[in-house]
């Protein structure tokens, strides 16, 4: 294997981690609320700008800003579920799609009004120089991002599998009515799940702030990728989302290396269409695919 292949493999895995976290949020929201969230890219952008604002406005270190971003994203997600998502939970799929699309326009353009459409870059002290490992080079920001992804994912799993709230979330993902009968406050649980989804997505966005220049519609370019990953992993299947996030990251960077960036993009959309046709439940078995 040539050094370039190894290099793009490494880049792919590191970026794939960030994709995985963003898609984990999407899949979690779909699993519990059965909503295909078209405001996902916009929520990611909100995460980017929250980190940017805390770091450049208040002088935080970008990574120290993350815990605050987490809390803020949770609150934003919680509130968005309360209004307006709550009102369309049993509406036909296309109404949910439209509503979340409307939310995306609102979020993106509020950012546009506040931060202007100009590109913003954030540099972290001491992170300017790329690290060398043998013949490979790695941007420190990407390494840290991957570490944070692992940590946040761990937290999410701890919450979902080791806490009472987590049990309730998983119960209502399986069976809403059943959960209600068990005395679970489904309405709160849904809001919390949406909040957690927003945290995953927002942090994934925030981790990109030190890596790339950001602008208010940047999230859109990640949105479809998140759909690809979540569907590939099986909508609602969290492990699936993580694995296929890494997979898409690697496919993207290897195919960019061999075919060039735009063909790589087409390849990924092609995979997406193929999966939707042939195996809409995803590579890793059933998630919570809704009938119809």
């Amino acid at each position: 294997m040539s050094i370039q292949v190894l290099q793009s493999l490494l880049d792919g895995i590191l970026m794939g981690g960030v994709y995985a976290l963003a898609a984990l949020g999407l899949s979690l929201i779909f699993g519990v609320l059965k909503i295909t969230n078209f405001a996902h890219g916009a929520m990611m952008t909100v995460g980017m700008y929250v980190v940017y604002a805390l770091a450049s406005g208040l002088g935080f270190n970008a990574y120290l800003a993350l815990p605050f971003a987490m809390i803020l994203m949770f609150v934003i997600g919680f509130l968005i579920q309360r209004f307006p998502i709550h009102y369309i939970e049993h509406a036909p799929a296309h109404n949910q799609l439209l509503l979340t699309l409307g939310m995306a326009y609102i979020l993106e353009n509020v950012l546009l009004v506040i931060f202007t459409p100009n590109y913003k870059t954030l540099t972290v002290d001491g992170f300017e120089k790329a690290l060398r490992i043998g013949n490979l080079t790695v941007a420190p920001a990407k390494l840290v991002a991957f570490a944070v992804v692992v940590f946040v994912t761990g937290c999410i799993y701890f919450i979902l599998y080791r806490t009472h709230t987590g049990n309730s979330i998983r119960a209502s993902a399986q069976n809403d009515t059943g959960a209600k009968l068990m005395g679970i406050n489904v309405r709160n649980i849904r809001a919390i799940a949406f909040g957690l989804g927003a945290v995953c997505t927002g942090i994934a966005g925030g981790l990109l702030t030190p890596i790339m220049s950001i602008y208010p519609t940047l999230g859109e370019s990640f949105q479809l990728k998140c759909f690809v990953i979540a569907v590939l992993g099986g909508m609602g299947n969290l492990w699936g989302a993580l694995l296929s996030g890494l997979l898409i990251g690697v496919i993207e960077s290897l195919s960019s290396y061999y075919l060039g960036g735009s063909w790589s993009e087409m390849l990924i959309y092609g995979i997406f269409i193929l999966i939707l046709f042939v195996r809409p439940t995803g590579l890793f078995g059933r998630g919570n695919r809704r009938e119809n």
Binding site: T36, A93, G102
Partner: protein
């Protein structure tokens, strides 16, 4: 004999359309260049809306990728014009055929694999994105630089110095599309489409050829979107993949139907008539603040989906027919 409800609904429908028609005919005589361009924007959106209306409003197959058909229309006529000197009028027909074929292909694959709801929407979105990337990176398709249509004032070239002619052409297209839907909705084709939307299995068990009807609806819908695409290219004189293949075009096809009422004859027209002026207004009101008009757009979508799911016109029609919302 037609009953009271049917007659009353018909009267309201015809009355609304007549009023809209009169407004549309008088408008260009009273307005200057800027207002005329606003009128043309309204009509382009109305045409896109009617296109989406057939496939998604009537037949219930929710498309999130009408940009694909719009772009194919714009590109087919423009490439034929630039490279082969074929009149855009002929190119428009060609573009409509190309779009219809692509629509049928997307539909056939999706329906064969039984995709519905949001998964169908995602497939249409993915196809539009693939076309965008493809056109953006293929030299033969003019790549990212796009196409500049040279200006020649002549009927044969589908170009006019006088914007009023453009206005009446797009108005004619909208009238044609609306007439088509109006006639269709009272006949076998329209009744079958609504039956398919309401319950596919039941429709099939009554002998409705579900797949064929869905595909025909997609083909017609795609062809009308392509027509709008060609008009767009000729009127604005410039297209590139980030203008015609983007999801905002797909959204422009959906939103007038949602605001006005999907699956109704006058809904998309009324929707476009509300949205475009509102956006122009907010552009003037918040001059210099980028994004305010899009925030209003987003708020409008959210409010309508939550509080007025059938749209302005759709709600009226439902009430007339006695349905609770």
């Amino acid at each position: 004999m037609e009953g009271e409800i049917v007659v009353k609904t018909k009267r309201v429908e015809q009355g609304t359309l007549l009023i809209l028609l009169v407004i549309a005919l008088i408008f260009p005589l009273l307005s200057e260049r800027y207002m005329l361009s606003v009128g043309i924007s309204i009509l382009i959106m109305a045409l896109l809306g009617q296109s989406w209306n057939i496939m998604s409003g009537y037949a219930g197959q929710f498309s999130f990728g009408h940009a694909a058909f719009f772009g194919l229309g714009a590109y087919t006529s423009s490439i034929l014009y630039i490279d082969f000197n074929i009149s855009p009028w002929v190119g428009m027909i060609a573009g409509m055929c190309v779009a219809a074929l692509v629509g049928v292909l997307i539909g056939f694959l999706s329906f064969r694999y039984k995709l519905r709801g949001d998964f169908f929407a995602l497939v249409t979105l993915a196809f539009a994105e693939i076309l965008r990337v493809l056109f953006n990176n293929t030299k033969a398709l003019k790549g990212a630089t796009g196409i500049l249509i040279p200006y020649k004032d002549a009927w044969k070239e589908f170009q006019f110095a006088n914007d009023r002619i453009f206005y009446f052409i797009i108005l004619g297209m909208v009238i044609l599309a609306t007439l088509f839907i109006g006639v269709m909705s009272r006949r076998k084709f329209g009744i079958f489409l609504i039956a398919i939307k309401e319950n596919q299995e039941a429709a099939g068990s009554l002998g409705v050829p579900v797949l064929q009807y869905k595909l025909v609806a997609m083909a017609i819908s795609a062809a009308i979107a392509a027509m709008a695409g060609t008009f767009y290219a000729q009127y604005y004189g410039f297209i590139d993949p980030t203008v015609v293949f983007v999801s905002s075009i797909s959204v422009e096809a959906i939103v007038p139907c949602i605001i006005g009422g999907a699956g109704t004859l006058g809904g998309p027209l009324l929707g476009a008539l509300v949205i475009i002026p509102l956006q122009e207004l907010s552009n003037n009101l918040f001059e210099g603040i980028n994004g305010m008009n899009m925030i209003i757009y987003g708020v409008l979508i959210v409010l309508f989906v939550v509080f007025c799911r059938d749209g302005i016109y759709g709600t009226v029609i439902r009430r007339l027919k006695g349905a609770r919302s």
